[in-house]
């Protein structure tokens, strides 16, 4: 009898465990479908689609930084370095910039006649991820032996170094009259993504761009979800929680941190390569320190360590930055009688949002499950005291 009861209970528990999983699967499927059909609701070159494309690309970066900051707990203030490297990967591998070379792979008929390195966008994407992962490893190797705040300082410095390198890269000759970067002039005339059967992307029809970055987001999201619930994901969180205990449990410190850093870098690079193609130029001026903080703000507002939080944070700040402030509310101050436009104070607005978030919802929009539990755990004893207060029966249920 008790055996049957136990089996029933086990079955019930298993069903309860599976139910939210199935529900979240349905929800995820629904979101993907909505994501795919979304551009049909707007004209193919509308400002909203443009803002959406940028917001989704931000979400990809936010997911990448979330691996570093959220999972592994390494405060990286130089994430813009990987945006830059990703964009330059596109400049190097998908334009006539290295004009002495003649390398072509699966590109449009036009591009295949031009001098330079012209690879298919997917190959560039993979290349950008690899280049950034390698750079992340090189940068991380000396950096990640440090702890806490020191990591933040050194990564900040590396972000600046890469930025400076980008600006001055036009003076770095790599032979044959070619330089490393084009500095503030920018590498322009980069190839638009081309796929056989679809043709080259252009800026009159933004829908293919949107589907491309949406596909990248899905891939990055998938990798994030898989990693979170894996041996590696647990090792990251363990290191974040208690480094000494983690290494004493057999987790190799440097290797594990490096893998987080390299993966975060790879995602940043993929998004950077996309931005390079979408903006049709790779300009050293794009890679400012403020951008690192901007991405970090997405992670924080979304909820540090939370995958869905990183997506929502990236989308939210992306829309605010590229749609709400410039397109919708820009003239609001002048309507109210002030002599400025909202775009002039956008960093003030982001700062204000961050402060508001920290006051009202420090755990972020969609907190990580673990942090959520932690926060409710802190509230629980207070609740218990309330329940035990005289005059409130049933406290000891």
């Amino acid at each position: 009898m008790s055996g049957l009861g136990a089996r029933l209970r086990a079955w019930q528990a298993a069903a309860q465990r599976r139910l939210p999983q199935r529900r979240s699967r349905v929800l995820a499927g629904l979101l993907i479908v909505i994501g795919i059909v979304l551009p049909f609701a707007f004209s193919s070159s509308s400002g909203f689609i443009n803002a959406t494309i940028i917001a989704v690309a931000y979400a990809v970066m936010s997911l990448g930084l979330n691996v570093v900051v959220g999972f592994a707990g390494l405060l990286d203030l130089g994430y813009v370095a990987f945006y830059a490297l990703g964009a330059y990967s596109l400049g190097w591998l998908g334009s006539g910039f290295f004009f002495k070379a003649k390398i072509h792979a699966l590109v449009s008929p036009v591009a295949s006649t031009l001098p330079g390195v012209h690879l298919n966008f997917i190959l560039i994407l993979i290349g950008a991820a690899l280049i950034c992962a390698a750079a992340g490893t090189v940068i991380g190797l000396p950096t990640l032996r440090l702890r806490g705040d020191y990591i933040a300082i050194v990564t900040l410095a590396f972000g600046e170094i890469i930025g400076t390198l980008a600006v001055n890269g036009q003076s770095i000759h790599i032979g044959g009259g070619m330089t490393l970067t084009a500095g503030n002039l920018g590498i322009s005339a980069v190839d638009a993504p081309y796929f056989p059967g679809i043709g080259s992307f252009n800026l009159l029809n933004l829908r293919p761009w949107y589907w491309l970055i949406f596909a990248i987001l899905l891939v990055v999201l998938f990798v994030n979800l898989r990693l979170r619930d894996s041996r590696l994901g647990r090792a990251w969180v363990a290191l974040r929680e208690d480094e000494v205990a983690a290494v004493s449990m057999g987790i190799p410190l440097v290797k594990t941190k490096l893998s987080a850093y390299a993966i975060g870098a790879a995602f940043g690079g993929m998004s950077g390569a996309f931005f390079g193609a979408y903006y049709t130029t790779v300009n050293a001026g794009q890679f400012q320190f403020g951008f690192s903080i901007f991405i970090l703000a997405m992670v924080i507002i979304g909820g540090i360590g939370s995958i869905w939080g990183a997506v929502v944070g990236g989308l939210a700040l992306g829309y605010i930055n590229n749609y709400l402030i410039p397109d919708v509310l820009n003239d609001l101050p002048s309507h109210l009688g002030f002599n400025f436009q909202l775009t002039q104070v956008e960093f003030g607005i982001f700062g204000f949002l961050l402060v508001i978030m920290m006051v009202l919802r420090p755990q972020g929009l969609i907190p990580e499950r673990r942090r959520q539990l932690e926060l409710t755990a802190e509230i629980a004893p207070a609740d218990a005291q309330l329940a035990e207060a005289p005059g409130t029966p049933g406290g000891a249920a």
């Binding site: 990798v223 898989r226 990693l227 894996s230 041996r231 590696l232 994901g233 647990r234 090792a235 969180v237 363990a238 974040r240 929680e241 208690d242 000494v244 205990a245 983690a246 290494v247 004493s248 449990m249 057999g250 987790i251 190799p252 410190l253 893998s259 993966i263 673990r370 942090r371 539990l373 932690e374 755990a377 629980a380």
Partner: protein
């Protein structure tokens, strides 16, 4: 000490003249001792005697300034802590150091890290062998938690939410998950009442006998120390002042002096 003719079995863990200096402060000075296989050895001494420093050297968190540490014949003096864990040394901490934001099961699964193989690509693509490994690790974690006496409802709670005694249990389970041959316990009975301490002493014996473990113990509860240990090493001011069977050590005038002060005798 061993009867002539029978060669002593190799020590599970051996320290040879190890010294640790932090700048001018010598925390541990020229200490040698053996932990024989399948034995329970206690390390006692007043606060600040250097016991935990010694543990930190044995587990690779500190590098000894001088001396050598051998694990069953293998020199681990300069090995990284994660490798030492892989070679078979696991530990618990004086102030419990669980991963507070992880559940009890996840904590124990982290302990199993060195026994698992899934790397970056295995984790992303999750081929069948990775799935099997995950399922096995999770089952093993639950077994271990049950073995150390945690009750089922606690398994999926966050470690930080568990009561103190259960946190100690989870920490031991986490250490066991790395499948050690030598287990280092740093004041495992701290904060326990006499009855719980006694139960833990029983449990340590069971660990030694069932899992064939060798246990090195830092302990202040003399009842536990005298009850479970085959040998006791006494430290004071970073030096070894006595060593031997519990009864010998208890009668040693130097030990009494270290604990009670000179006048008290």
């Amino acid at each position: 000490m061993s009867p002539a003719g029978t060669p002593p079995p190799p020590a599970a863990l051996r320290a040879e003249h190890i010294t640790k200096a932090f700048g001018g402060l010598v925390a541990v000075s020229d200490i040698s001792f053996d932990v024989p296989q399948h034995s329970i050895v206690s390390l006692i001494g007043p606060n600040g005697a250097g016991k935990t420093t010694l543990f930190n050297m044995l587990t690779g968190l500190y590098r000894p300034s001088e001396g050598k540490i051998l694990l069953g014949g293998r020199d681990i003096t300069r090995a990284r802590p994660d490798l030492i864990t892989r070679y078979g040394v696991a530990r618990t901490f004086q102030n419990i150091r669980l991963f507070g934001a992880m559940t009890a099961v996840e904590n124990v699964m982290v302990g199993h890290h060195s026994q698992m193989r899934a790397g970056l690509f295995g984790s992303i693509f999750r081929p069948p062998w990775v799935r099997r490994e995950e399922v096995k690790a999770r089952e093993r974690a639950r077994e271990l938690l049950a073995y150390v006496g945690l009750r089922e409802p606690g398994f999926d709670r966050l470690a930080s939410q568990l009561p103190y005694g259960d946190q100690r249990r989870v920490e031991i389970a986490r250490a066991l998950a790395s499948e050690p041959t030598v287990l280092l316990l740093d004041e495992p009975t701290a904060g326990m009442n006499p009855r719980e301490s006694q139960a833990l002493a029983e449990f340590m014996r069971a660990l030694r006998d069932d899992l064939k473990l060798t246990i090195l113990l830092i302990e202040h509860d003399m009842k536990v120390v005298m009850g479970v240990s085959e040998r006791v090493t006494v430290l004071d001011y970073g030096k070894k002042i006595a060593e031997g069977e519990p009864a010998e050590v208890r009668a040693d005038p130097g030990v009494i002096e270290a604990y009670l002060g000179k006048q008290a005798s």
